[in-house]
């Protein structure tokens, strides 16, 4: 198993309600999630806006510390592990962030952004690796010399993807990474991820609200609603016969490229 997650709970202090003295009340965002993610599998995570998908992702990467429950990554319990210990493992699990612009340091060139993590983990042949990563996401190599603000939205998103895959991690959490891409780049990125999964045994958790993409890429799907898992299952089964009203509502609301589709 790549991940075993048991009764995961996570809460934030609600600073808007903080009394003058004493601690702020807490809002629970993840309310007891349990699921397994086998090695080499692709898990789709769908759910409404604000349902806790990005928070779950950040908890799995241990950017946030759970308030209860446990997260086991590749046999190691990382629930409350210290950052110093985690640092040694960080090459093995990576995250691609939802907001491309803010996840790129504005005062660093694309080449430096991709090479940074590689250098930290002592990998050699930086130039070749950066070039290769840019090729894989379909960006010209000359983009290594550009600053993030000199790119379009979709190009920035692909820089984020390149940074994560260049490290060759065992696990990637991709948070809404294709929503800013046109169909052609989308296909390219999805095919790339598919290849990495098949050929290098990458394990992938794929947060998206685009169910057409989920249906193609993922083996299993997990539907999150207000911090709880409302439905989980094989992709095909879930799409054929969604059990929950919420899942059905999600399916019905997808806009098809067809002006005649009913859209009340």
């Amino acid at each position: 198993m790549m991940y075993e997650i048991r009764d995961l709970r996570l809460s934030f202090p609600d600073m808007t309600q903080k009394p003058l003295l004493g601690p702020a009340p807490r809002i629970e965002v993840l309310k007891g999630l349990s699921f397994d993610l086998p090695k080499g599998a692709v898990l789709g995570i769908v759910g409404g806006s604000g349902s806790g998908k990005s928070t779950l992702g950040r908890a799995m990467l241990r950017l946030l510390e759970p308030s209860a429950g446990s997260i086991t990554f590749d046999g190691t319990d990382i629930t409350h592990m210290q950052e110093a210990q985690l640092r040694g493992m960080r090459q093995r699990f990576q995250m691609i962030f939802q907001d491309p612009m803010s996840s790129l340091n504005p005062r660093r060139k694309v080449g430096g952004i991709i090479a940074g993590p590689l250098k930290l983990h002592g990998l050699d042949g930086l130039q070749a690796r950066v070039d290769e990563a840019l090729d894989m996401v379909g960006l010209p190599r000359s983009f290594a010399q550009r600053y993030p603000h000199e790119l379009s939205g979709g190009q920035r998103q692909r820089v984020g993807i390149a940074r994560a895959i260049a490290l060759r991690p065992a696990f990637i959490l991709a948070d809404e990474i294709v929503s800013g891409l046109d169909v052609s780049s989308q296909a390219q990125v999805l095919n790339l991820l598919g290849e990495l999964v098949r050929e290098l045994g990458l394990t992938l958790a794929f947060v998206s609200h685009d169910l057409s993409v989920i249906r193609r890429l993922c083996d299993r799907v997990l539907v999150l609603h207000q911090g709880v898992i409302v439905e989980e299952g094989e992709t095909a089964a879930l799409f054929e016969a969604p059990q929950e009203a919420y899942t059905r509502a999600l399916l019905e609301a997808i806009p098809l490229p067809d002006p005649d589709q009913p859209w009340e």
Partner: protein, 289 residues
């Protein structure tokens, strides 16, 4: 039907001369939605920025006209143009997180424009902001008003920007991929809301997206952009029935739909992109001559 925003032969170049937009022309009528589709890096956002006068410093309008409500913006002095745009147009930007100030609470960020530019009373502006947050289906708007941007989810931030664009009831909205972070149910509600607001205030809307599904639901007309050149301009119904340009047809064919799980993920075929590339190069030659 008169058009509210007209762009004529707009060419934008990098300072070193490389073209980013190639003689782009388009019209958006009051009360209409004009879609702008095209691949990543085609120049969609730059069209919006050129209209609003916020092009990055490295880029420059080298020729063309931008008419807003019967006035050629590019012929106005900078201050007058800024004032005009500030009073009539609003942008829903592509990067929600970077568009919000990380060190300020949400409330003042929405109301600032109303108070500072339009001279509203602070309480009125706050009441309006609360209403709008409710309308974009943000749960617990009062709490969100007092939150900082990083305490919110991606979709919430995006809806906040939609709300604040509508706050001042602008006559022109440039929406740059406004629903990328929204799940489909919320997206549907938001698109419907945008339609309502736009009908109510007779707003002209330039809607940048790459999601043809969305285009088919909200747009009246659309332009397809490739490498900064408009390759097809069409009414929406006609476009989906009979796309004329091969690139448009390929784009439609490549759009995945969940109802058809067996269709594989295919990029736009090489032959098609090669043909458009050739077209663009010919354009450059003619423009150079």
């Amino acid at each position: 039907m008169s058009s509210y925003l007209t762009i004529k032969n707009l060419t934008v170049r990098l300072k070193n001369g490389a073209p980013i937009l190639r003689a782009v022309s388009l019209d958006v009528a009051a009360g209409q939605v004009h879609g702008l589709v095209g691949e990543s890096g085609a120049g969609k956002s730059m069209i919006g920025k050129a209209v609003l006068g916020t092009l990055p410093r490295a880029l420059q309008v080298t020729s063309g006209e931008i008419w807003l409500d019967g006035v050629d913006l590019l012929s106005l002095p900078a201050s007058e143009r800024r004032r005009r745009i500030g009073a009539t147009a609003a942008l829903i930007p592509q990067d929600p997180l970077t568009a919000l100030n990380p060190s300020k609470r949400i409330g003042p960020q929405i109301t600032r424009r109303l108070v500072d530019i339009l001279g509203w009373r602070k309480q009125d502006a706050e009441a309006r902001a609360l209403d709008l947050l409710g309308e974009v289906h943000i749960p617990d708007p009062a709490r969100v008003m007092r939150s900082y941007p990083h305490e919110l989810s991606g979709g919430m931030r995006q809806r906040i920007l939609i709300a604040s664009a509508f706050a001042a009831e602008p006559k022109l909205i440039i929406a740059d991929e406004p629903t990328t972070a929204l799940d489909v149910t919320v997206q549907k509600q938001i698109l419907r809301l945008i339609g309502e607001m736009q009908a109510r205030h007779n707003t002209a809307l330039l809607f940048v997206t790459h999601d043809l599904g969305v285009v088919s639901k909200v747009c009246d007309t659309l332009s397809v952009l490739y490498a900064g050149k408009v390759v097809e301009e069409a009414r929406m119904q006609r476009f989906f029935m009979r796309p004329i340009h091969p690139y448009s047809a390929a784009l439609l064919a490549a759009t995945p739909t969940y109802t058809n799980p067996d269709s594989s993920l295919t990029p736009v075929p090489q032959t098609v992109t090669d043909a458009v590339e050739r077209e663009v190069r010919e354009h450059d030659l003619r423009a150079g001559a």
